[in-house]
Each structure stands twice: as structure tokens, then as C-alpha cells.
């Protein structure tokens, strides 16, 4: 932000390149480590907490990359407050969308299991005794 000096501005750009590339490499490393590809971290594949820790780290690093691109490369940092807010505040709505739809997804999963289960329930033939409804011969239906 506020690079008035041309040489400083150029230096800032290459610092940005290094930063984004480094964060991307760290992300790939975390992702592969979480799946047990990195030799000495192989135990993570079977650790139940690893998926949450790695997932959280990946999401945090990606949000940092997004912040860097918007604020430094797109110069959002040097725009006036009103413009920043009109663009950034609406994206907060997505937080609710993520929470709600992921919750919904989880619910579909359990519903799907229930539906599958109920589909397999066999109808039991109960002999009808003393029924008021006269049983029709099958060829009448």
C-alpha cells in the first residue's frame, strides 16, 4: 500500500509473488501430509483430528491469499472506506450460506440413510380376521 517510490513498488510486487508461491507450497504440503503422503507425518492419515486441523489450516491460508490479492494486487487497501465496505460487506452473507447449506448437506445424508432403510422394510402379511372391509378377489382390482 502507498508505494509512491517506483523501486519500492516493484520490490513489493516480487515480495507478493514470493509470498503467494510460498503459501501455495505450504498448502500443498499440508494437504498431502493430511492424507499421509509425507513420510514422517504418515500417521496423520489415521488420526481422526488431522482432517479438522489440516482443513482449518488450509482454509485460513486460502483466506490469507484472498486478502492479499484483494488488498495488495487489486489495491483495495487504497480505495476509500465506502467502496471497500460496499464490496466486502455483502460477501459476509456467504458465511451464513456456507453454514446453512453444509448443515443441509449433512441432513440429506442422514435422510438418505433413513429412506434407504425404510425402502427395505417388508410389508408383513397379516391375516385379516373379522375385518369390516370385504376382501376383494385380486382379479377385481
Amino acid at each position: 500500500m502507498g508505494h509512491h517510490n517506483y523501486e519500492d513498488a516493484i520490490k513489493g510486487v516480487y515480495k507478493g509473488l514470493f509470498l503467494l508461491a510460498a503459501v501455495t507450497l505450504v498448502e500443498v504440503f499440508f494437504s498431502l501430509a493430511g492424507k499421509g503422503y509425507i513420510g514422517f507425518l504418515g500417521f496423520l492419515e489415521h488420526a481422526s483430528w488431522a482432517v479438522y486441523v489440516v482443513g482449518f489450516a488450509l482454509i485460513a491460508l486460502s483466506l490469507y491469499k484472498a486478502y492479499f490479492i484483494v488488498y495488495e494486487f487489486m489495491h483495495m487497501g487504497s480505495e476509500v472506506r465506502g467502496l471497500r465496505m460496499t464490496v466486502l460487506l455483502p460477501t459476509l452473507l456467504l458465511v451464513w450460506a456456507v453454514v446453512a447449506f453444509f448443515q443441509e448437506g449433512g441432513s440429506w445424508k442422514t435422510r438418505r440413510d433413513v429412506i434407504k432403510q425404510r425402502n427395505e422394510i417388508q410389508v408383513k402379511q397379516v391375516p385379516q380376521t373379522g375385518s369390516l372391509i370385504k376382501e376383494l378377489p385380486t382379479n377385481d382390482i
Binding site: 508461491a21 501455495t24 507450497l25 503422503y37 488450509l58 486460502s62 490479492i69 484483494v70 450460506a97
Partner: protein, 288 residues
């Protein structure tokens, strides 16, 4: 129009509401074009978010989901000369990410040279940006060709499955799986396609049941092709607009405007946004 004296008194005051509403001032201190580019990008962000959230919701609703580092483990030139059996998880797509990051950086340089009214600098850095974007598209074309042509994934068929129980294969597929090979819960597999259709291998579970490899969740292929396709379409349009604006810049059109190559700045915003979206596509499709 109000013509009372107070309005006249405030007419020259840049901070008064009356003069703001009279037009001619920019409340956000950016041009109309740049402001509208920001709002277009905001709306585009919602479109992509809709796609990615749908991916998340469907993934959460499925009992199993293809593991990304199993699906995306190939690279051009027969896995960079290492052969088919050597998996290269996420390596090729990391290279694609680097291409987009680098082209984003060259775009920043083009905008900087524009501010200095340096025509040759603008054209040079925009050309590098175009090359980066075209390189990314080329990589994506290879990735799609491999998925469709070699691995036979379609919008409605997903041959990438995950074992939900442990067991041993009763037949081999000639692609690395031999008869008698064992597998565990959570192991991934690719159902290969031969002359007589998909070859779903039979296997015996540890509990003694005889079963057949099942196809993976159907939605995976459709989501992959639609989301990466929609992003690729953005890259393609970006490259086209970059080319047009680069040629305009080279012809000296923006020299006469004397506005610090604002058109380059606007396409720059769009191009960074394409990179920004890729950060999230990369996150949800490949990393998580």
C-alpha cells in the same frame, strides 16, 4: 431545483450534500468504470460461491467422496517420464496455480507501468500475462482430456470410487491391480473402461461377501466439469480481453486518454479476480 440562497452558498463546498448530488464529483474517488468492475466482480463472486457451496453441500451429503490426491495424480508426458504407476498427487495442479499467480504478478507490473505512462512497459507485461493465461488454459485442456479420454469420467458417470469395506480382489484389471490384492476401508480406485464398457472388478469382503466395485458419487463429474469449466471460461474471456487491450495499448489509443492507462487497470482487476477464484477452486477441489 432548489434555488434558495443556502444552496448557492454551498455550491462550492466539496463536502456538502448538495454538490455531491449535483453530479460531477466521485463519492468513492474512482471512475464509473472501475466502480462497476468492482460490483460486477462482487456479483461474479456470488455465482462462484453458489457453485462451490453446492459442491460442499453435495459432498457433505454423500457417504463417500473421491479423494482429490487420488483423482488428480497424473501429469503430462507420462507423469513427467516417471511412468503411469508413479502417482504425482496435486503436482500438476500446483504448477497450474503457479502459472496463474505469476500471470497475476505480471499484470500488477503492467498496471504500474501504465501509471507511469510507459507504453512499451504496459505492452510487454501484458504480453507475459496473456502467455501465462494461455498456458493455464493449455494445462486445463490437458487435464480435461486426460479425465475424459484416459480415465473416462463424464458429467453423469464417475469411475472414481472409494471402498466402504476391506477385502481382496478376485480379478485384476491390468492397470496395477492384481488378483488377490487386498484393500482397506477408504482406499480409492478407478474403474477402467475397456472395449466392453467399464470393468467393475469383483472382490471378496473380509466378512466373506462377494461384491463388485461401485461407481463413485455421480455429482463429482458434473461439479468438476461445471466449476472448473466456468472458471476456465473466465480465464478464456480474460485472455481475449487482455489481448484486445494490449493491442489497443500498443496502437497508442490510451496514450491520448492521459488517464494512466485506466483500461489496463480495469482488466487488471478482472484478471486478479480470476486468480482469486482459483484460490478457492484449488482449495475445495484439490486441497480439501
Amino acid at each position: 431545483m432548489a434555488t434558495d440562497t443556502s444552496a448557492v452558498a454551498h455550491a462550492n463546498d466539496a463536502h456538502s450534500d448538495e454538490s455531491n448530488w449535483d453530479g460531477g464529483t466521485q463519492p468513492f474517488k474512482v471512475s464509473y468504470g472501475k466502480l462497476m468492475m468492482w460490483y460486477f466482480l462482487l456479483s461474479d463472486a456470488f455465482t462462484f460461491a453458489g457453485f462451490l457451496i453446492a459442491y460442499g453441500a453435495i459432498r457433505f451429503s454423500s457417504p463417500s467422496w473421491p479423494v482429490p490426491d487420488f483423482v488428480f495424480r497424473t501429469a503430462p508426458f507420462d507423469n513427467l517420464g516417471l511412468g503411469h504407476e508413479t502417482p504425482l498427487p496435486l503436482i500438476f495442479v500446483t504448477f497450474m496455480s503457479f502459472l496463474l499467480i505469476i500471470s497475476s504478478v505480471t499484470m500488477v507490473r503492467a498496471v504500474q507501468e501504465g501509471h507511469r505512462e510507459n507504453k512499451n512497459g504496459v505492452v510487454f507485461w501484458m504480453l507475459l500475462t496473456v502467455i501465462g493465461g494461455a498456458g493455464f488454459l493449455g494445462c486445463q485442456a490437458w487435464e480435461w482430456t486426460n479425465l475424459i479420454g484416459a480415465e473416462h469420467m463424464t458429467v453423469t458417470t464417475n469411475p472414481f470410487g472409494t471402498h466402504v469395506e476391506s477385502g481382496a480382489y478376485l480379478a485384476g484389471d491390468g492397470h496395477g491391480i492384481n488378483k488377490g490384492d487386498t484393500f482397506e476401508v477408504g482406499d480409492s480406485y478407478l474403474i477402467h473402461k475397456g472395449d466392453d464398457g467399464y470393468n467393475q472388478l469383483p472382490y471378496m469382503t473380509t466378512s466373506g461377501e462377494e461384491k463388485q466395485q461401485a461407481f463413485g458419487p455421480k455429482a463429482f463429474g458434473a461439479l468438476f466439469f461445471f466449476i472448473t469449466g466456468f472458471h476456465g471460461f473466465h480465464v478464456f474471456s480474460g485472455v481475449a480481453f487482455l489481448l484486445i487491450i494490449m493491442l489497443n495499448a500498443a496502437s497508442g489509443l490510451y496514450v491520448e486518454r492521459k488517464n494512466g492507462y485506466e483500461m489496463v487497470e480495469k482488466i487488471g482487476l478482472y484478471w486478479h479476480f480470476v486468480d482469486l477464484v482459483w484460490v478457492f477452486v484449488f482449495l475445495v477441489f484439490y486441497l480439501l
